[in-house]
Amino acid sequence: MKAKHQRLSLALIALVAIIGAGLLAMSALKDQAAYFYTPSDAARDHVRPGVAVRLGGMVQKGSIRREADGVTIRFVVTDGAEAVPVRFKGIVPDLFKEDSGVVAEGRFEPGGGFVADNILAKHDERYMPPQMAGEMHRSESLKK
């Protein structure tokens, strides 16, 4: 009898722990998963400012500007139809250049601009992660 009780209570605790962890995971996932947008997607979907997302597209020709501090750059990501101004503070990857594919990780600002925490640029095809390759391909295919 006692053994049964003990096993039952253990199973219950385990169940509660697993469900609790699952709920915790689900709620965190809902808030924290970063979706991928092109500028057109972003214009259509009205992405909430402050939510972590990825923005992919082409770096518009002639749009890269370096600010006076020497470490902040501004550029425009475009997909031909829509364009989003992006601000990034940091060291950009070597293959980041104008008229080339880029994926920026960061968040939209209330004004419609985008602040990037991280910049991923077109990379040697052989070492390109498949997701990145897919996103980059989407960005590149916008170039006409």
Binding site: I13, A21, L24, Q32, F36, P129, M132
Partner: protein, 640 residues
Amino acid sequence: MIAEAGLAALWLAAALAALQFALGAMGLRQGGDTLLPAVRPVALVQAALACLAFALLILLFLRVDLSVALVAANDHSAKPWLYRFAGAWGNHEGSMLMWVTILSLAGGAVSLFEKRLPERTLIATLAAQAAIGLGFYAFLLFASNPFARLDPAPAEGQGLNPLLQDPGLAFHPPTLYLGYVGLSVAFSFAVGALVTRDVGPAFARAMRPWVLAAWIMLTLGITAGSYWAYYELGWGGWWFWDPVENASLMPWLAATALLHSVTVLATRDGLRAWTVMLAVVAFSMSMVGTFLVRSGILTSVHSFAVDPTRGAFILALLTLYIGGALALFGLRVGTVKEGSRFDVVSREGALVVNNLLLSAILGIVLVGTLYPLMAEALSGEKLSVGPPYFNAAAGPLALVMVAVMAAGPLMRWRRDEAMAVAKRLALPALLVAGALAALLALAPSIGMLPLLGLILAGGVAAASIAPLWKRNLRRTPLFIWGMVIAHLGIAVSLAGMASDSAFTRERLVAARLGETHRVGPYTIRFDGVEPVVGPNWTAVEATLTATRNGRETLLKPQARAFWSPPTETNEAAIHTVFDGQLYVVVGKADEEGRWQLRLWWKPFVTLIWLGGAMVALGGLLSLIGRVRRERRAHGQEAFA
């Protein structure tokens, strides 16, 4: 010729794995006893052949034999010999060959050293190990042949991903794989014991050293991988919740849970079904990890070429083995009698809570890792799950687990009094309160998780030494020392993580020649840049002088450009002192001739990896202690 010999060895090894499985399966039937003695030698020869194939592949890489497709795609004659050697597993086919080699080595080691298991359970274990091997041999031979020829042979190889051209490549993958694949032994033990209905304390005592050995390697491999990423990527971070990192963390979590539950089974004959289940889950996580990394559906320096058939192949193997083991578990779990009982407040109780928390964290990491793949497969939506999710979901649970870890070893087996435990915890608790007060006074703006991490680290450090209290230290068994050091290592590592996230100072500057910048306790002067040439790269090397309390240190970070394949990498300059690391990365020059510099001062960050090494050392002491004790107990019969 070498490539053909390698391929032949691989086929022979696969055939022997089939034989090993067949002999074991038939031998376990009624009247098949005469076949049983043949299984052990077959396992040994199979391991030897797999090693031969792997050695031949390494030889091909050392000789830069470009008529072999794999060598042509990944090797280069200008590479230093260490990277030609380690480059043998810096690619898909070679790393899978290493995987299979370690799998067969593990089987060989079991057949050679395992003397405690009953004969029939051992044979069932070896048959299960051979069954796993068969699938992965087939994967190698049909979908990832490392010895395929290339005709005509190119004049020069394409070279190795520059990020991998680091001494870390010689150490991190082999240790990680030894741990990863070493867990197959636990899996096979579980299957074997289910087949012969032999789950009990003797089985647990036999399995424990194997689990420990794999777990030590896994701990070392993860620690080494973390430090490698930290200094090689130049991002200043030591864990990125990259799916590939998660792929190594998940088996570690499961193996850590298994390590603790197997102790309950060995000592108190409790948690029988749960332990068997964990043994299956631990290696299943290794296979899930292999699938994530090797199928090409992910995303990093770890995944090499992309080929959809390979993904499908590994997924099929995964389903077969995990499904098969779980089905066997479902069929046989009714025959696993539950062991002895225990109170909730007891050592066993604490270990159960530890297991639940580890499993919950495992679940959280698994969900977060697979979610983007599921979402893309189901709805085509592209998304990524990163540190915000993992830290928020797994962080709090990890802290609770560490707190339980402090209390567990201070409880008695079977039953204990809550009040007595509280008394034993009084001193650590006092330390926690003191640390809290001190931190709030000294660093009021510290974040919640780092704050809790730091004070817990202090309390846990005290509590983990407590089991040595009033013991005669010279007569304390080695495995107690192992536990104390491993738990202390967790506290040390936690302190490093919390300190890094709470107190790191970061500066991003555009520096002119001769300019100085401050970061943490250092003043850094930018003295200039000059070009440097390496064996297969050129670089811009910056010279910086860091000054702290009048003592100067020279720092030379590089931005390297490799020419085959053409890639650029950052070589951070890292200066290690007792209370932390100064970490400097050089970026690009702008039109005005200013150079971008990224400067970090990371107080006590080294504790993270020191703690990891302590955990592994604790495991090693524990392993030696256990094996010695078993030998002494069974002295005569083991060596008879």
